[in-house]
Amino acid sequence: MVDLFALTLSHALLALAAWRLVLRADLDRDPPRG
């Protein structure tokens, strides 16, 4: 039960982080100053 909770919480956060990274343009290039 504890293992399941720890796995679910950490993997949910990792998955959400990965999804947010996919949507971020600055993952591959820092935006230049205008």
């Binding site: 993997h11 998955a15 996919v22 600055d26 591959d28 100053r33």
Partner: protein
Amino acid sequence: MVDLALCLFVTALLVLSLKRPFLAVLAYLYVDIVAPQKISWHLLASIPISLITFLAAFGLWAVADDKADSRFTWRQGLLLMLLVYCGATTLGADFPEEAADKWAWVWKALLFAIFLPLTLRTRLRIEATALFMVLSAGSIAITGGIKTALTGGGYNALYFFVQDNSGLYEGSIISCVAIAIIPLILWLARHGTIYPRGPLVRLFAAALIFACLLIPVGTQARTGLLCIGLLGVLMLRTVKHRFLYLGGAAALALVAVPFLPASFTARMTTIENHQADQSASTRIAVWKWTLGYVKDHPFGGGFDAYRSNRLVIETRQVEGSGNQTDIETKTVTDQARAYHSSYFEMLGEQGWPGLALWLWLQLSGLWQMELLRRRWRKRGLAEGAGPELQWQAPLANALQQAQLVYLLGAAFVGIAFQPFILMLIGLQCGLWSYLKRLDQPAREAARRPGLDPGPVPVAKL
């Protein structure tokens, strides 16, 4: 069910990496730290998932990632020298089969540490690497922390996901790593942009730090307690209100002691009395043996050279005091005893040249992070400096603290090639290279006054 979920998670990361190649690097970090193939019984356990993510990370970077801003730093050169040197000692190892087994994972960990900085071209990639390392190791800390809070844990009795005693699933190693990541957790909570600063992030960070602090209690690893003590002292350097911090730490320790399991307190008291403790006495005997061994083998005996040792250890137990003192002496023989210290592990296995290379790698990391901390702290404190100038010095500081905690823990645990720590070194190299590149236009302009530095990435502003 867990099997399927883990398999889907890794697959999703690899699919997303087709769109963003850097995610394959993060997938490898995750697989190497959590080792989901050990948790899984069927799907992931039956495929070489580590190799697949390793190849995906390299392959996608080679084929699809921009390499214009990638730089090879001299510390990566040190890693490469260490890799070649370890390969050479493996060829002439005292125990060829055992040495080959260790070499099979060491070369991969070293190669990945050399490769990682080449991919860290943006601020977000540096942050994402730190986040994946923390959350991956955090998954083990969360389960260990909760179990410790519920049951108190016990020496060699606290299990994390699997009944395994290797990698981060070994008690002393996770104790050291759990404390080492605390500075990174704090940095991510304050300067993170993937999970921006807010009440939920603060709550999670606080809970994760608490879980990390519970790991040495649950595993009853004495190394972990020393690491907590060192981190507590190191934090004095950066906390805003030192007296408040000292008072809070003392109050917390006083409140926590009554709640600590009796077995934990009993084990921790053996730190002072190493002569009565067979484990500690054996370590000292192994270290003495190693010093003698390298007199005859200055270039080391290759991986697992400790297998040739045979030790006779005397332990002394003193009971009572004054005229009532009883001294009980026991003689114990032991053989093929592991080094229980990264310094002696390097010395025995790789000899003086290997130890020198390894120490150079570690100490240069401390020095580089110190330089970055000082340089960027000034900029962050300058008038008008925004958050874009304030994340660099705290990250360098966090990486330095993490490494110092590791170097203390490494004195009592054989983790010279622990992949997590090599990733940390890769992250240091990446940060050093990235910030040096950001400074390049300003340095060029200073050298040639007429030259326009041109547009500067917003991460430097």
